[in-house]
């Protein structure tokens, strides 16, 4: 079980690296546009699309990793007063009954949409650049799939926490948060 959980964490981390590279990509792409437009009077056709596509890639591909290091903000000044076991139970119940079904449904829609876009070679019609849309939609789908897997891993952890609170970090702990290897 621990091996499986570790595998999901590892996957979240690996996928998040694409998101990290997109951060630098966004900086470079937007800077290039500024130089091209203001210095050489030759604006690119792609910068508008790249800006939102990269931003979406950053936050969606990073979402699973962000959950794995517990950086999705929680307001825990009240819940911290509950016994650890109850905290784990609350997370288990809410994430299991509401969040996971919601995300699986959204992920299903996103994945189907990405697949259709890939099969049909659909392009973005409102953009002068008219890029094919499947890479963008696939990144969204990939991010969401990883998030669903990471939610499952967290559910297992909360379940372990309900059985033995000492065996897993509490919902308010932040393992290796911001250590940023």
């Amino acid at each position: 079980m621990q091996g499986l959980l570790h595998l999901v964490d590892r996957l979240s981390e690996l996928v998040s690296r694409i998101g990290m590279v997109l951060v630098l990509g966004l900086v470079v792409a937007m800077f290039y546009e500024v130089v091209a437009r203001y210095l050489f009077n030759a604006p690119t056709r792609w910068s508008y699309d790249i800006s939102y596509m990269f931003n979406a890639g950053i936050f969606l591909l990073g979402s699973a990793y962000t959950l794995s290091i517990n950086q999705h903000i929680r307001i825990d000044f009240l819940s911290q007063k509950l016994p650890l076991r109850a905290q784990h139970f609350a997370n288990l119940a809410v994430l299991g009954c509401l969040f996971l079904p919601a995300m699986v449904w959204i992920t299903y829609r996103a994945t189907r949409s990405a697949w259709n876009a890939f099969m049909s070679g659909k392009v973005e019609v409102v953009s002068p650049w008219a890029p094919v849309i499947w890479p963008f939609e696939s990144a969204i789908a990939l991010g969401l799939i990883c998030l669903c897997l990471q939610v499952c891993a967290q559910l297992v952890r909360h379940l372990l926490g309900v059985m033995d609170p000492a065996s897993v970090p509490g919902p308010s702990d932040q393992p290796n948060a911001m250590s940023g290897r």
Binding site: F31, A56, S63, T66, I75, F99, I106, G180
Partner: protein, 437 residues
């Protein structure tokens, strides 16, 4: 009633300690099943695509990246050293220098909390050593940290602008006077207090400021000037309408990379850490935006629309009373929730009503930003104090902190009153800078 009950349900999940963004999505899902039935999956996915396709929001990671780079470089230390050198001899000089440094630092990053932690780590030990009053130390650091909300570029404003469909450049222009006023009031308060009670904020020892002028100028040139040029060029480009916030942010990001390279601190690991931090903060913020958008669309379609218009006709509020009521709600929510959530769940309800009542959108936005900032600073549940606690030594107690921030909260309320009484403080700059009427 159905739609209205979404709020208590949301608060229940949030206070159970479920991540805020997930709570928003959970409630949208649970209530959405009744409203949208079998098409809910498509509706929620559409909201996600809407946020994922917003070019305005791509300024968020860029400004976060700028801050993450600066946070890890020695720029903050250099700024602190240089501002101390100029302002240190004044009564309360170190605290005044701290506020000045927070202002410059806040203008280069949108990350709330980052300013406070970075500045706190340097300024607290320095002030403790001089025997500063602990309340004054706490108040200075917290108030300085809160400037990140009101001094552009602020992530709060980018999110606000994109939710309310307002020009982000105009909003940035709108918060300049109130933000500047706040810096001046903070500094004036510290100066006057230290003059009346010299034991609260003794000046720094001679050797800090009594150095030859050429050395002084050289340090200023290398420390204060690059950061200031960077900040003013980024803001200037946005405010004069030369570049979009996203483009200006990219220039700022490249500028910080160059600056760290000049200081010989640029390394792969620094860059990698900054990229990772940018990604996690963006994921955290943007997921709240996604969840908040889902929440408000389920709320509005599920009867929230009629609920709001009904409430208005029933209570027949004057525009003034409406603004006061809304700001009070923002303050209460800001007391317990993070600001992204406050903006996202309040705006869809407030904006149509404010528009109908003919309230100036920029003016109201500036008021909201000031209120959010005040809530950030107001005990007992002030994020400012929680951040301070992470960097403060044990000798500074919660008692010191609560008492210490109180005068600064009053100063922020004064700024709020000024903006309420004199709306031109918020609306004048946007008209002249961006040429709107």
């Amino acid at each position: 009633m159905f739609a209205a009950s979404m709020f208590p349900a949301l608060f229940l999940l949030i206070f159970l300690g479920i991540p805020v963004s997930f709570s928003l999505i959970c409630i949208s899902f649970a209530y959405g099943l009744f409203v949208f039935d079998s098409v809910l999956g498509g509706v929620l996915a559409d909201r996600l695509y809407g946020i994922a396709s917003s070019p305005a929001l791509s300024a968020v990671p860029l400004f976060v990246f700028m801050g993450a780079m600066l946070e890890r470089s020695s720029i903050a230390e250099r700024l602190f050293e240089a501002t101390q050198m100029w302002l240190g001899r004044l009564p309360g000089g170190l605290a005044i220098a701290t506020i000045g440094m927070c202002a410059i630092f806040a203008a280069s990053t949108g990350i709330i909390g980052a300013v406070e932690v970075v500045v706190g780590m340097m300024a607290i030990p320095a002030m403790m050593k001089l025997g500063y009053h602990k309340g004054l130390i706490s108040g200075t650091i917290c108030a300085g940290g809160s400037l990140g909300t009101i001094i552009p570029p602020s992530i709060v404003v980018i999110i606000y602008g994109s939710v309310a469909e307002l020009s982000i450049g105009e909003l940035f222009a709108g918060i300049i006077i109130p933000g500047g006023l706040m810096v001046v009031l903070f500094m004036a308060y510290i100066l006057i207090r230290a003059m009346l009670r010299p034991q609260d904020g003794p000046p720094v020892p001679r050797e800090v400021y009594d150095i030859p002028l050429p050395t002084k100028l050289w340090r200023t040139l290398t420390a204060i000037l690059p950061a200031t040029v960077l900040v003013t060029s980024v803001l200037g480009a946005i405010l004069t309408g030369i570049a979009s916030p996203t483009e200006a942010a990219a220039v700022g990001a490249v500028g910080t990379i160059i600056l760290t390279a000049i200081y010989r601190e640029l390394s792969l690991s620094l860059l990698w850490q900054a990229m990772r931090k940018t990604m996690t903060i963006s994921a955290m913020v943007m997921f709240i935006v996604v969840g908040g958008t889902m929440f408000s669309s389920v709320f509005l379609v599920g009867g929230g629309n009629t609920l709001i218009s009904g409430a208005v006709t029933q209570f027949d509020l004057s525009p003034q009373a409406m603004v006061a009521l809304f700001l009070f709600v923002v303050f209460l929510l800001g007391f317990v929730l993070d600001w992204v959530t406050v903006v996202l769940i309040c705006l869809p309800i407030f904006l149509p009503l404010l528009r109908a009542a003919g309230v100036d959108q920029i003016w109201f936005a500036v008021l909201v930003v000031v209120v959010i900032q005040t809530a950030y600073l107001t005990p007992p549940m002030a994020p400012a104090i929680f951040f301070l606690k992470t960097v403060a030594p044990k000798e500074i107690t919660y008692q010191d902190m609560y008492k210490g921030v109180a005068p600064f909260v009053v100063l922020e309320l004064i700024v709020l009153l000024i903006v309420i009484m004199m709306p031109w403080t918020a609306t004048y700059l946007p008209t002249i800078l961006l040429g709107f009427d």
